[in-house]
Symmetry: C2
Subunit: 323 residues, 2 copies
């Protein structure tokens, strides 16, 4: 089968000898559409030391499965493949943090920029008929946004600020708007901020507008810029005893001043992957419009170009049509 691989520091379209082999408890999925994520771009820079088939945001159709009820169904799949038998999986019921886990397209598990990908059956989530492929392909990053409210429920009276108008910031602002009408997205790009205003999200362009009136105002600030300056600003905008959610790894190399965290007793909450079921329910209910982020589409054969396009500064979602 055809696949986009990262090997020996190189991204390429590389034919594979065979489709992935599925064992008991696994499903073989024919990939329909996949999305390029910033994590893919980080992997190409050396993050996690990954080598293999890239891609972890996808929607596809089950082609082979030991549980035949899944055959022919359109699905998304949680990317964390846990062992299911260790204390973290069994006692703590915390498979997303299984120390033996593989992660589709990220850690010891082939990815979805391919004609076929495999996933554990327990990871599958059926895509309802009313949810288009263009929406379903966003399930994984939307789930990462829902993880925030799983960890720290947000109430309708609370004020939320999302810092960063990149792909994930735009999805998070949408998802948190389901919990409170008081979401402000802070970014630096007119066109990106404009995408969310019709959805009732307030916006500020930090290049042009002061944020002084927002100081210590937010119950929850979500930092998605991935910069030390973003974290400083987040601590500044968060009210005492509020929560700053760290959704992307802050670039190393810059000292951080955590004194405000102690003085204002702020909770800094690391947040990663989230719940697929809850996300799919929200998509089915028509509450989210992630497809406004789609800017480019490439066939699998041009997957290398797709990734190059995604790496261009300012690009939102690039899709790879695999089948």
């Amino acid at each position: 089968m055809k696949a986009i691989t990262f090997e020996n520091q190189q991204v390429q379209l590389k034919p594979q000898e065979a489709v992935p082999t599925c064992g008991e408890g696994e499903a073989l999925i024919r990939v329909l559409v996949a999305g390029v994520c910033n994590t893919d771009l980080e992997l190409i820079k050396g993050y996690m030391g990954f080598e293999g088939i890239l891609g972890h945001e996808f929607v596809g159709v089950v082609e082979a499965c030991s549980d035949t009820t899944w055959l022919g169904k359109r699905v998304c799949a949680d990317i964390n493949a846990a062992c299911g038998v260790c204390p973290v999986c069994v006692d703590e019921k915390n498979p997303h943090h299984c120390p033996n886990r593989t992660v589709i397209g990220i850690l010891n598990h082939g990815g979805a920029f391919a004609q076929y990908v495999k996933a554990p059956i327990v990871n599958l989530v059926a895509v309802p008929e009313s949810v288009s492929n263009d929406r379903a392909v966003f399930t994984e990053p939307l789930a990462a946004a829902f993880e925030i409210v799983e960890q720290r429920p947000i109430h309708p009276h609370e004020r939320v600020i999302v810092l960063g108008d990149g792909k994930l910031g735009l999805l998070i602002a949408q998802v948190l708007s389901l919990s409170t009408p008081n979401v402000t997205l802070v970014g630096r790009h007119h066109d990106k901020l404009a995408l969310l205003r019709p959805m009732g999200v307030a916006t500020r362009n930090s290049r042009e507008e002061s944020l002084d009136d927002l100081q210590k105002s937010a119950h929850v600030v979500v930092e998605v810029t991935g910069t030390a300056e973003g974290l400083d600003l987040a601590l500044n905008l968060c009210r005492p005893r509020g929560t700053v959610v760290l959704k992307s790894t802050v670039a190393e190399g810059k000292p951080l001043n955590l004194a405000p965290l102690v003085i204002d007793e702020i909770t800094l909450l690391g947040s990663r992957c989230g719940p697929f079921e809850r996300t799919m329910q929200a998509l089915e209910a028509g509450k989210l419009q992630p497809e406004v982020l789609i800017q480019h589409r490439f066939p699998l054969e041009k997957g290398v170009e797709a990734i190059e396009q995604a790496a261009q500064k300012g690009t939102l979602k690039v899709l790879i049509e695999c089948g």
Copy 2:
């Protein structure tokens, strides 16, 4: 009255023209004993831009008060003097974070290294007869330790690691031992670690013993070393979805790697001042032995020497006997 002041970059014994003037709602307290805290040493280095009478850990006797029921009573006092009328005080019931607050001996409020100090009546806590001055003088830092369990209750089955065997680390390990038998204190000093072993606290000397077996083991790690290395280690010892409590400001100038916080979805919790009532109840119940930290005593006249002694590396608690 006599007082130890920090003015023009200088710590000195400086006679004051008068005792503090008390308004409605305030009490004048004759100080019996005060303790030197690391925060005092930080203030002398320029922290908070403080000038005035130092000292915020103390026990004394009420000499004047508009509420006469307090007269003659032995008391400690919460150091955060809130305005009582702003939204943070009234709506959020969060006076410790009042934006208009003064803080005894730290922010726009004269301190307790003096014959007299004043405090709001609402801040007073009576010292039961069974609690000696040598124990009561630890109420403020012990309250800071109890703040941890106010913010993040600790259950008996949970494993806790305290990083740092300085004054605050030793008090925190004692206080958290009231919640769980599984507290390990990690430090670098035989003599300090030995102080807590009779209290049932496990200890590790990180200069001599490996911590490898503790990796990702703790539900809660309290970082009290105030170093970037300490925070790195704390993130390493904390289990996925666990909590790292940041109790002292991490020295600036060193880049921090917060990637483990995101990947392991760790909660980093800033923690400052705590509940005096709860602390006094624990002291009255005889559950804490903070006095094992006392190493030196100086009369108020030698308060400058007391602070110099406290600044010597490795010194635990230095007391100033004021009256």
